[in-house]
Symmetry: C3
Subunit: 206 residues, 3 copies
Amino acid sequence: MHPRLTLALTLIEAVAILAYAISGFIEARKRRLDAVGTFLVGFATAFGGGTVRDVLLEHRPFYWVEHQTYVIVLFVASLFAPFVLRTLSRLFSERALLVADAIGLGLFSISGTSIALEAGMPAFTATLMGVATGVFGGLIRDVLCNVVPLILRDSRPYATCAFAGCWLYLLLDHFDVDSVYSLIIATAFILIARLVTFKLNVRLPH
Amino acid sequence: MHPRLTLALTLIEAVAILAYAISGFIEARKRRLDAVGTFLVGFATAFGGGTVRDVLLEHRPFYWVEHQTYVIVLFVASLFAPFVLRTLSRLFSERALLVADAIGLGLFSISGTSIALEAGMPAFTATLMGVATGVFGGLIRDVLCNVVPLILRDSRPYATCAFAGCWLYLLLDHFDVDSVYSLIIATAFILIARLVTFKLNVRLPH
Amino acid sequence: MHPRLTLALTLIEAVAILAYAISGFIEARKRRLDAVGTFLVGFATAFGGGTVRDVLLEHRPFYWVEHQTYVIVLFVASLFAPFVLRTLSRLFSERALLVADAIGLGLFSISGTSIALEAGMPAFTATLMGVATGVFGGLIRDVLCNVVPLILRDSRPYATCAFAGCWLYLLLDHFDVDSVYSLIIATAFILIARLVTFKLNVRLPH
């Protein structure tokens, strides 16, 4: 892979992980959790989806064990969560957070699908595991905060966008598109699908 | 095994899985979840118990990976959940659902015990894993729907019937009864125990 | 190891496991769970942390599979939970329960860290897995009882004491202190840190 592409992917990944962790921090502050709760909910939101997938696939090491730096950054950030969140809300609009979260949804779902395929899962199961990678972090966050998970009741397409993107990835894979390009195309598809359906206020059947 | 017996067992299994999934669908509708939530809660109710057991035992592949058809059927059904549930409630009485659920409890608990024994678990642990196979689906359903799990507070014998049936299975196994027959006898025992205690309104100490 | 030391450690372990199980029983009674719920919540509180750690590390057999006697004792105790809890509250003060729970926190966290290190985890991850061993039992207890987990919102240092003790253990390990002694010293540190911060009403930033 071209080194600039590698750098770009690493940056996108960092944005995605931090966006998920921040959504955990925000929920933790809303529920008045302490520093321990803020860290744990942020961590679970960022890495919960991938961890569940890896447990199901018996895949090791976990991403967060191989990339401990992210965990240490989250740990430090959670100690100063009120300050971190205040600063972020001054620097970035809510829209920026929405975009960052949609990048995370895309990247995690597609990389999850790819890992499940490599582990020999059949196509339909691989897409389910991809979507689970993208959405189970938020699901665990909400279970820990004792609310019905947003992903189960928010009728705006979220898991649905991820699911469509995972099938697009399978299709590109089927036509032997280079895996880096299919990753980028399918992730971009999920990002755009999420933003467009959100903007147009599309709703799932309820 | 006689082909008719195989067919009968496959049919019983399908009834059991669908009964569990429907109990997930019903709970999901009650909590006003969307199509994603309906699918996920139905899936978790039907396959959650076996998945937890397999994770604990490091047993793969999961049942639902080997039998993807069930997952696809649940997926399609969850898209039309209101219609599916309306049709079912017209075709079957509440009593039929209770019987189907009790068949599931019996079949999942006994097959769970048998898988745990094969994995080398000691007797008491094997029965616990059997009961977990039968009841953890409903437990996950209730955690996702943000209510105290029914299995923990409903004082009517449910896990208790399963537990007794698992020990009956161990006993039959000890006396070298053919495993298909012990499976059928112990499953039937759980089914009958559940229906009789339900009818007689037996209660556990509270 | 000196046989008296082995006996002492076994006794400490029994105290720790029972203290955790009792905290599960108490919460279960408070939520008016039945005998099944009391057993399951007690079991999850006592063994949940170690089980999650072992699943993450692919470490088998589980402690409770190797030491079935504990599970059987919990099973019987849960059948007579009202009587058991009444008797315990007559024999022991609330302070005694607090001390027993703090012993559990220390012992589980340090032994969890040690098992994670043996499994090849890097230092920071090992301490996280140690703390998880100590606190995830209570977290699962609270999720099952449908409340926001105490560990996430109680601003009194609990996980924090465990975390500090795990790093003390790593430090002692680094200086080649015999592992039994580092276990005892670090566990004692957590016990004392928990009791002192509780007594002085120390609070984490909120």
